[in-house]
Symmetry: C2
Subunit: 489 residues, 2 copies
């Protein structure tokens, strides 16, 4: 070990070696260059960094990790820095290295026949979408941050988005993976094998591990054929139970064509219409809940898809599942429908302080869960308003609690907001759900994870973390709530 006697790393010696390894393009201590990467996307966490490393090759990543291991210096891997839980933000010690994968942005191969792409971790999602679209293909996972989120970050956080209902989360897209482990060795499983029973499926452990078990450097991803087009439906329903019944109806009739099923409460639609200049409600009738449905043509023709959309609605009316509905008449109207859904968060921010929760329970329990939790919160914290919206088809909703009028931004979240979150997470735990459906744990939910996780699961996580990163140099303080005796010496 190349460290000083008292176990404090010799940062000066480390920096000399790292600079020699990576050169000026690959390692910087320039405060101005580093500054944009020290604060998370939501602006909640700000850290400090010893330096920012931007290796250009997997060999450089491996050599850097070996160097960090030898010196006991810890690393915070970072892609587009657009995570929701502070997972890519260094701590405030100034002793951690930001390991940016952004220079590694090569799309190595697109195999149109096999419908696979192999690319480096730093490829931005939108660039991947465009590159595969040129070959008549589609990478089906998408989300709001697609202009900055990288493939490595999306895999490390097992990202979700609006097409999960049909295509699954990032985990379902990953056929092969390459990663650098804590000792600098390379885990190479890039060749995509559809069937491989040679023991533990180790890439599954790396997916969603938020950089705590390895640095993902490249991946082979599954692609889908480019769709012929889509139909977007806006539907009014009387209750969450009816929304759930309508979901089952859509699923039975549309099968694989059903790609999106989002719920929006009347309150949120009104807030968005108030907030968005020139926006219009899709329906001229009032409903307690609204549903946005997206049907995508796979092997169907567009005429067939239109027929299907009409049949789905006609039979749902007959069965008394829905109150009113419309099909977007054009692509621009379809986009306008989606804009209403995507503006909920912004409209809410404009209104005042709120606390957000990204939770999931079993899909069929979600209506009952919301109907139980919302009144419980509203009665325990008078003046608050609970709104739930999002991916009903995935059992995943964004449960937001709006503060009473006159609450002070920042202050309210830290006091009452914190108590509300604890109550909601307690309810989620009671229902066997997840306190993080898609946004991950990072540093934001580390304490709540430690508090609410079954000790058996927590013990397994700690054991696996310790087995694969015994020196705790990979993104320490994120995702895995270590036991006191596991803390770094």
């Amino acid at each position: 070990m190349d460290t000083k006697d008292n176990n404090t790393p010799d940062y000066a010696a480390f920096l000399v070696a790292a600079r020699q390894l990576l050169g000026p393009r690959g390692l910087t201590q320039d405060a101005e260059l580093i500054e944009p990467w020290l604060t998370d996307w939501r602006g909640v966490y700000t850290g400090a960094a010893l330096a920012m490393a931007s290796p250009g090759t997997v060999e450089e990543v491996a050599a850097l990790v070996r160097l960090c291991a030898a010196h006991g210096v810890s690393l915070v891997p970072q892609g587009g820095n657009s995570g929701m839980s502070g997972g890519a933000t260094p701590d405030t010690s100034g002793h951690q290295i930001i390991l940016s994968l952004r220079r590694m942005h090569a799309i190595r191969t697109i195999d149109a026949e096999a419908r696979q792409v192999t690319c480096e971790a730093g490829v931005i999602l939108q660039n991947l979408h465009e590159a595969v679209a040129e070959q008549g293909l589609r990478f089906p996972l998408t989300l709001g941050g697609k202009g900055s989120a990288t493939i490595g970050g999306l895999i490390s956080t097992n990202a979700g988005g609006t097409q999960v209902l049909r295509h699954g989360t990032m985990r379902a897209q990953v056929l092969g993976l390459e990663a650098i482990l804590a000792d600098g060795s390379r885990f190479d499983a890039l060749v995509p094998l559809k069937k491989d029973n040679r023991g533990f499926d180790l890439k599954q452990v790396l997916i969603g591990s938020e950089g705590t078990l390895g640095i993902i450097t490249a991946a082979t991803l599954q692609l889908a054929p480019a769709p012929a087009g889509r139909r977007v439906l806006w539907v009014g329903v009387a209750s969450l139970q009816m929304a759930r019944a309508f979901l089952l109806h859509c699923d039975a009739m549309a099968g694989m064509a059903l790609e999106g099923f989002e719920i929006i409460p009347a309150y949120s639609l009104a807030a968005v219409l108030h907030h968005l200049p020139g926006s219009r409600a899709p329906l001229d009738t009032d409903h307690t809940w609204h549903v946005l449905v997206e049907l995508v043509a796979g092997t169907e023709t567009m005429a067939g898809l239109q027929d299907l959309a009409e049949q789905v609605l006609a039979t749902a009316f007959e069965a008394g599942l829905i109150e009113n509905a419309t099909i977007a008449a054009s692509e621009s109207q379809a986009e306008a429908f989606w804009l209403l859904r995507e503006s909920i968060s912004a409209a809410e921010r404009a209104r005042g302080p709120a606390v957000q929760h990204d939770v999931s329970v079993a899909v069929e329990q979600m209506p009952a869960f919301i109907d139980t939790v919302a009144p419980r919160v509203e009665s325990a914290f008078p003046g608050t308003k609970v709104i739930a919206y999002g991916h009903l088809g995935d059992g995943n909703v964004h449960l937001h609690v709006l503060s009473p009028a006159g609450s002070v931004q920042g202050e309210w979240q830290k006091t009452t907001g914190k108590k509300i979150s604890a109550l909601i997470y307690d309810c989620v735990a009671e229902w066997g759900g997840s306190i993080s459906a898609e946004h991950g744990i990072g540093q934001a939910k580390l304490a709540e994870l430690a508090r609410l996780t079954d000790p058996v699961r927590l013990g397994m996580m700690r054991a696996v973390k310790h087995a694969l990163d015994p020196g705790n140099i990979l993104n320490p303080g994120k995702l895995v709530p270590l036991a006191p005796d596991q803390a770094k010496p």
Copy 2:
């Protein structure tokens, strides 16, 4: 530790405690009752056992594992004992306990609306098929051993079968899991969450771990709607490359309706026709390769499926991909086509000694792989004949090498056969493939796994095994080639 001074477990004391715990129904030392479970399904391995435990509840499994951990006694979990790699057979020491899950065969709940079933580990696959069919649903994974294979065993080995092309292996069916870990604690993740980013997806590590990390006691599985029916096609093609092109063609045209795509060489078809009394070739023309295609109606009507089948074939003819083809005119003819495919192995056994290899490479490389390996083996071992058949659509074929005329059964496999296997596994490793696509490692391939696995992957496997089963009491000597210093004290 309740063991003797020299670290040898006190088996007598253990048995007294185990008998007290499980009662006469749950623990037996009766040689006659144990005997059928000491030899693997293929008849290659025979072990001995201290006793056979058959707990009736998850609590009993947990208590037994705790007892084993305290005494240092190791366990061999067993479902239907129909594995292909000796993974459920105890060693010859007579010091291991067979842990049979067969008494735990309750189907706890079938949720027709959510299309999910929760059942115990000992449920036999065929019983599950029938139970869900009664509710208009389908569990899509199937294989030859369905009359004996249990859900726990299928999950522990991440079983494949003939519907993997469309539905994936067992891993893709598992929504939730319950398991007892090496210290007797219960990992409870039965509630199926479609989205859950609370850290490592630990159930993925248990799936396919062949009982070396935990004892699977129950699972929640995904179901599909019962299909309206199927169309089975028999097609003659000129080469493997054409078979691959035809696969892409079927995939593009039939999409989700394509559920099976099996290849059969002319040699194997002839052997089956010779072996099976009253069997007939589906086509009256000769072809180098034959393809069995299964199309299943999801949302389509049967008339639509027939149209689709006819279009797939007509356009394939036009494109010059196929030489001749027929569509089974009835369900009984469809069954007859499948019987030809399923009889390859039996026809081969009747012919003489052979060695079998269950290998995979990237799907698009499979034709080139077979065309490279077959002549290499046949020229290195004169008089042998290589046949490849099976799941081309999964990149997984069964590569069998038939011995020269006059070879002695048993003797030939142990001498020349072993050398042939080593050569084939070397080729697989060269191509980045898997030496075990679906049959698992068990004890049969442990040495070859140790020899051919990348040291990084091997190191990760060992680290995870040691982290979760430090005493090495769960199915030792299977799947994970331990390092010499990890062997049990």
